[in-house]
């Protein structure tokens, strides 16, 4: 064996060692922060989103093969000041981006703090338009008021009704949605009665009575949360207004409502990504459903699906940035901005304000202990039971 041969084989060995070392270095564990309300008034929705984030970690680490993600969770206690503190704490722990956030009033200051720290922030928990109007280049959102409005207005158009009463919580997201829906419905010539309510209200009978005796609308639209829907539907069951449909938005057409309030739900409509029992047709959907059932032993709900989608999009962007070596140079936000892919909630593509321009929700209806998608027609899994109310 001559010297050249020895040198060549040593160089080959060195190259192999280097490539192995490089391989190990690139397969580093990437830290991601999850700022979520796990206590306080938003604990319920925050916990739902957290489940989706955990499922995303499970699926990403199992399927990526190169990078692994570790999520550090910080409870923002459903309070804006605590949300800022949570983001700052996560930044101190070395996270490369933030997923989570619930409530536009918490997400606003939290994403501002993340932006100042140079951390991309992705959410599905705040639909207020002012969040994207800020023009922050590190802020991304996969859902928005427009998507919910299109679904509600589309359903009403299919019903061909001429009048509606809107009962809405004075919270920012619900009030904005209600006003947007009113504007669009009024423009089509419909008569719309508006009834704002304080989130602390527990007795909805006086409002329902006004609709029954004064508005005399064909349908009632509800923009609130689970506790509000239960109160409204119970009041309506007592007073039995002469309406053709009860239509809500988020947190209503869910497996949880089917299980917990079966007597209140028949024929009630709400936004829903999937029918119940869930039918996942795509490979991504099946991966999500299997991991969700393995981790939580229950049917996935919309909060989990949104949390999963926002986190998977973020993890994939982080992985791409890591491959390009731009992780610490603003690469994650750049990769997020380039996102264009099919997900469980439809195609996701962000505009220059970080909003998902493709987001349109679907409408589901509670039918015989199940949820059928009834709008839009191309995604429908069942026929609309109209007119139909729970009483």
């Amino acid at each position: 064996m001559d010297w050249n041969c020895i040198i060549r084989s040593k160089l080959k060995l060195a190259a192999l060692a280097l490539s192995l070392t490089a391989g190990v270095a690139s397969a580093e564990e990437l830290l991601v922060g999850a700022e979520i309300p796990l206590t306080g008034s938003l604990a319920r929705v925050g916990s739902g989103m957290n489940e989706g984030i955990s499922v995303a970690v499970e699926v990403f680490n199992k399927t990526n093969g190169k990078h692994t993600i570790k999520v550090i969770t910080a409870d923002d206690e459903s309070a804006p000041a605590k949300a800022i503190a949570a983001v700052e704490k996560l930044a101190g722990q070395g996270v490369v981006a933030i997923t989570g956030g619930y409530g536009s009033n918490n997400i606003g200051p939290a994403s501002d703090a993340a932006n100042k720290l140079g951390l991309p922030y992705i959410t599905s928990g705040g639909v207020d338009d002012s969040l994207t109007e800020r023009g922050i280049k590190t802020f991304f959102r996969i859902n928005n008021t427009a998507g919910y409005r299109k679904a509600m207005v589309g359903l009403l158009a299919d019903m061909k009704v001429k009048s509606a009463s809107v009962i809405y919580s004075t919270k920012e997201a619900t009030a904005d949605l209600a006003k947007d829906v009113q504007k669009e419905l009024t423009a089509t010539g419909m008569t719309v009665g508006m009834h704002a309510f304080d989130p602390a209200i527990t007795d909805f009978k006086p409002i329902i009575n006004k609709i029954r005796l004064q508005d005399k609308s064909e349908v009632i639209l509800m923009a609130g949360y689970e506790n509000d829907y239960v109160g409204i539907l119970r009041a309506a069951k007592v007073l039995k207004p002469d309406v053709k449909a009860m239509i809500g938005v988020w947190s209503l057409a869910t497996p949880k409502m089917v299980a917990d309030f079966p007597d209140l739900m028949p024929s009630v409509y709400g936004t829903a990504l999937l029918p119940f029992p869930a039918e996942f047709k795509s490979a991504d959907g099946k991966l999500f459903a299997d991991a969700y059932k393995k981790l939580y032993n229950k049917e996935p709900d919309y909060l989990g699906q949104f949390g999963y989608v926002q986190s998977m999009i973020l993890f994939e962007a982080i992985a791409r940035a890591a491959d390009k070596g731009t992780l610490k140079k603003g690469g994650v936000a750049e990769e997020l901005a380039k996102t264009d892919r099919e997900t469980l909630i439809g195609r996701v593509r962000f505009n220059d304000k970080g909003d998902n321009i493709n987001f349109v929700h679907r409408m589901g209806q509670h039918q015989n202990g199940k949820i059928a998608i009834v709008w839009p027609s191309d995604a429908a899994t069942g026929k609309m039971n109209f007119p139909g109310v729970p009483w």
């Binding site: 319920r44 309510f197 527990t202 009575n209 005796l213 007592v238 917990d260």
Partner: protein, 290 residues
Amino acid sequence: MSELILQALYSGVLQGGSYALIALGLALVFGTMKVINLAHGELVLLAAYMAYMVESKLGLSPLFAIPLALVLVCTCAVLVYFLVSLIRKDRELNSLILTYGIGIILTNAVLLIWSADVRSTSSAWFQDAVVVGPFYSMRSELLFFVVASVLMAGLWWWLSRSWYGRAVRAVSSNRDAAKLMGINPRTTEIVSFVVAGILASFAGVAIFSYGVIQPAFGHALTVKAFIITVLAGIGSIPGVMVGGLLLGIAEALTVTLASSALQELVGMALFLLVLFLMPNGLFGAKARRG
């Protein structure tokens, strides 16, 4: 319009009875010890979750949770008393901080045990409509309005006729003078905490039967109870009933005649107005003397 107002008055009366039931325990402890138990709402909530447990796990009516709630909530109430009694200095002020902390601990314990999900009874019997002429209500609302009225009458009788009730009033009026009369203030204070626990137990089961519960709900209950206690005037049990009804009716009429978004605002405005015009409340000590 008259049908709307009649229904608003009826809803307001029923809601007022519910408010009064929640506030009674707080008013009693406030009257006896000058301690504002800021964990009172969480005690009510604990009873509500007992009702949820009994209904969801045992398949029984929430009413069967009352004995279990009585044991648990009264035990917690006595524990709160012992912690408060450890305060040696500025008890009125320091007990606020202590009971606020206890409330946070209880809220998080409820969150850990029962999760953040919205809970309510699934019993159709409680939710069935009772219609009398132009008046509409759920059966549970009517049932617990009657229960609240009976409990209030019982409490009023106990305070004015029984030995322990008189002892509670004596300690409330002048602790040292009561001691000289052979009354053990400590025992009397424990009794008032236990009675507050009994009232909180009934209030909790009532809330579960006609409303919805969540772990973060306790604080809102305490605030509502505090408003009614101040409206009523310290130590006035009939005042609590009147204060509760006044608040319930004011809120229902606001929804009917103006906007439901103003309901809470009107409640707070009423609270401030009474404080401004009658600092001792509607039935407070000075008002009674007058």
